[in-house]
């Protein structure tokens, strides 16, 4: 029986699973509310029912049934049933240029996400925050995983990005208590938003330059300390800059971090970082990490490599910070401290170093876990650290470490081997 299941589901390509998920979210928007009512659930469970169960343990069977009927059954049914057809589709897409096939897949994924988050604002918000967390995790993985330095300044980079892009939006397009009347008409705003995010990224990379110049002369944990000091300095600077709201922070950012905006931001981030780390140029990071002397002797300009990677990682942290600011529509310096550093580090080390998939998994699981465990209040912050300690003890580099993401192979068809 298991053999048979393995055979069926081992042959479902990525597009097949996406179709399954699409069927599930369509089922949910059609019958979710009704089913929840019939099962006496208080409302449609936002996150696979875990929250409901933790609040009211007696709802356990109902929540399980809901998850089974709405998600598990449609996904597996649809994915299994459409497998041959999906494989043909995957094969057809394989003939297309890789970027086009990737865009098609991402399009379906977006559709799934759109329908799923349409059910509740809560889902929408945590989905966006999770995608921002993916960007942060991936960008710190470039530095801490691929390059093997221990950087602690990510909250600082995020803050730089958040403040720079917020300033951009507020100065240009908003009537604001700090900056006064807008300079440009507001309808232009959403189109200029990418520019604002870019500005945030550039601000963060410039910050990275400040850290990198003194710290890359020596090796070891030197960067950890400099970057930690940098993080405190950035926080302190924003606390003292009354122009940017001081300790109270900045509010009223326009609502531009919509689901498509964040999704596109994350997708571009993943694609660009994945391209880079898989290129020979990007592999230089690994060489610098594993042995810098040898890298240098094999013609790698290690200083430039480290600088580039550090600024690159910081850039994406800045972009993520910009999205974060426009999602919460409020930032203040205290959101970018040790607490935020611990969360980012937890995500990257949980998911796995030197791995794009690991970062996505790490951000997704920590973020979802911390949302789902919300009813446990304080104990959430005992369970998650404990989990991470266990992961560190048994898999010191994280769950899915050192895995390369080959997009072509991943998206390709999974045709059953003949005679298998």
């Amino acid at each position: 029986m298991t053999e048979r299941l393995k055979e069926i589901y081992g042959s479902v390509p990525v597009i097949g699973w996406l179709i399954g998920m699409l069927v599930a979210v369509v089922t949910e928007s059609a019958f979710g509310a009704g089913l929840a009512y019939a099962l006496y659930l208080p409302k449609v469970p936002a996150l696979l029912g875990l929250t409901v169960v933790l609040k009211q343990p007696s709802m356990f069977p109902a929540a399980i049934l809901y998850v089974f009927l709405i998600y598990a059954l449609p996904i597996f049914f649809a994915a299994g049933l459409t497998a041959p057809w999906a494989n043909r589709m995957a094969a057809a897409m394989e003939a297309l240029p890789l970027w086009l096939s990737a865009i098609l897949h991402l399009g379906v994924l977006y559709l799934v996400l759109h329908l799923w988050t349409d059910m509740s604002d809560y889902r929408l918000q945590i989905s966006k925050l999770t995608m921002i967390a993916v960007m942060l995790t991936l960008s710190i993985n470039v530095i801490n995983g691929y390059m093997g330095e221990f950087s602690c300044s990510h909250p600082g980079f995020m803050a730089l990005g958040a403040y720079a892009s917020s300033t951009f939006s507020l100065v240009l397009f908003r009537q604001d208590r700090l900056f006064g009347a807008p300079i440009l008409p507001e309808f232009l705003g959403p189109y200029m938003f990418p520019l604002g995010l870019l500005l945030g990224g550039v601000a963060a990379s410039l910050g990275a330059l400040v850290v990198a110049i003194p710290s890359f002369r020596t090796r070891g944990d030197y960067l950890a300390i400099i970057s930690l000091a940098f993080m405190f300095i950035v926080k302190s600077v924003f606390e003292n800059l009354e122009v940017l709201g001081g300790p109270r922070g900045m509010g009223g950012q326009p609502h531009w971090a919509t689901l498509p905006a964040v999704f596109i931001g994350m997708a571009v981030c993943i694609v660009v970082i994945n391209n880079f780390v898989n290129s020979t140029m990007g592999k230089a990071l690994n060489a610098v990490r594993d042995n810098e002397t040898a890298a240098e002797a094999m013609t790698v300009n290690t200083r430039r490599t480290k600088m580039t990677a550090f600024m690159f990682g910081a850039f994406w942290a800045g972009v993520a910070g910009g999205l974060y600011a426009h999602e919460l529509r409020y930032v203040n310096p205290s959101s970018f401290g040790i607490q935020s550093l611990a969360e980012i580090l937890a995500m990257v080390y949980f998911g796995g170093l030197n791995s794009v998939v690991g970062s996505v998994v790490g951000a997704l699981s920590i973020q979802m876990l911390s949302e789902a465990l919300r009813p446990l209040e304080l104990f959430k912050w005992i369970i998650i650290p404990l989990l991470l300690i266990l992961v560190m003890i048994f898999r010191p580099t994280g769950l899915i470490a050192f895995r390369e993401l080959n997009v072509k192979r991943t998206l390709g068809p999974r045709v059953r081997k003949s005679g298998g």
Binding site: N275, M281, A284, A287, A294, A297, T299
Partner: protein, 256 residues
């Protein structure tokens, strides 16, 4: 003019004179040996030539171009390949990635191409990969291409390291104790490999060795370094019969 020319190179570590007016001239296609007891400063000579340390005094030039003060990666890109005594492989990278990465200075695509995955990038990557695979085949490690390098047997790791050094297209190859930790059998095999790569790539070689047999087999001329100073230079026959060399090696078991 010689291909690689070192003249009166002296280096101090703190107050200690590690290398004392060392000179060398290698012509294209030559194989030279550098022998000497432990701690004689042989590896320091390599590190000085390849730019890991900057010599306190003296000149180093490749093809008439001075190498003094250049960063190691520039020197390497100019055509000075090397291996290391303790190999210094990259422990999380595959064999193929090792050799591909050594093409770093030959990459023609820019950072933006790497980010965006341009067509130029894929063309270039394919070219590099083909070249790397060819090298792996020459060194007989192609069947390990996708393995993490630390999973390989010792001799194969040595060969990967040589393939990596050849990928930078060196004019001069510096081999730092290529037979360290090898059995006699493996050493004899290594003699064959060095010969083959010398014939195939027409590269000049400078090699450091402990084992006199290895050097005697391969090298046209040999220098003996003791306490940072060259005490003897000549053909294998001269060196073998030089009383100073015999004295320096007296009591050492690896004389033959």
């Amino acid at each position: 003019m010689a291909l690689l020319e070192v003249s009166n190179m002296t280096h101090y570590f703190g107050g200690l004179r590690a290398v004392d007016s060392y000179s060398l001239a290698i012509d294209p296609g030559e194989i030279r040996g550098l022998i000497g007891p432990n701690g004689a400063g042989k590896t320091t000579v390599f590190n000085l030539i390849t730019g890991i340390h900057v010599p306190s005094e003296g000149r180093v030039s490749l093809n008439g171009r001075s190498l003094i003060g250049l960063r190691p990666h520039r020197i390497a890109a100019l055509g000075l390949g090397r291996t290391f005594q303790n190999m210094l492989l990259w422990r999380h990278m595959t064999v193929l990635e090792h050799v591909k990465l050594a093409h770093y200075s030959q990459i023609s695509y820019g950072l933006m191409s790497a980010f965006l995955g341009s067509r130029k990038l894929s063309r270039e990557e394919i070219r590099i990969e083909e070249n790397a695979l060819r090298l792996l085949e020459i060194f007989d490690v192609a069947h390990y291409a996708d393995q993490i390098v630390t999973n390989l047997p010792y001799g194969a790791q040595r060969r990967v390291e040589m393939a990596r050094a050849m990928a930078i297209r060196p004019k001069v190859l510096l081999l730092d104790e290529p037979t360290a930790g090898m059995t006699t059998e493996e050493m004899i095999q290594m003699i064959g490999i060095v010969r083959r790569l010398h014939e195939q790539f027409k590269v000049a070689i400078l090699l450091i060795e402990h084992r006199l047999k290895f050097v005697m087999e391969l090298c046209g001329r040999i220098q003996t370094l003791v306490f940072g100073e060259v005490i003897a230079e000549g053909t294998p026959y001269d060196i073998k019969n030089n009383p100073k060399v015999i004295e320096a090696y007296l009591g050492r078991e690896d004389i033959t």
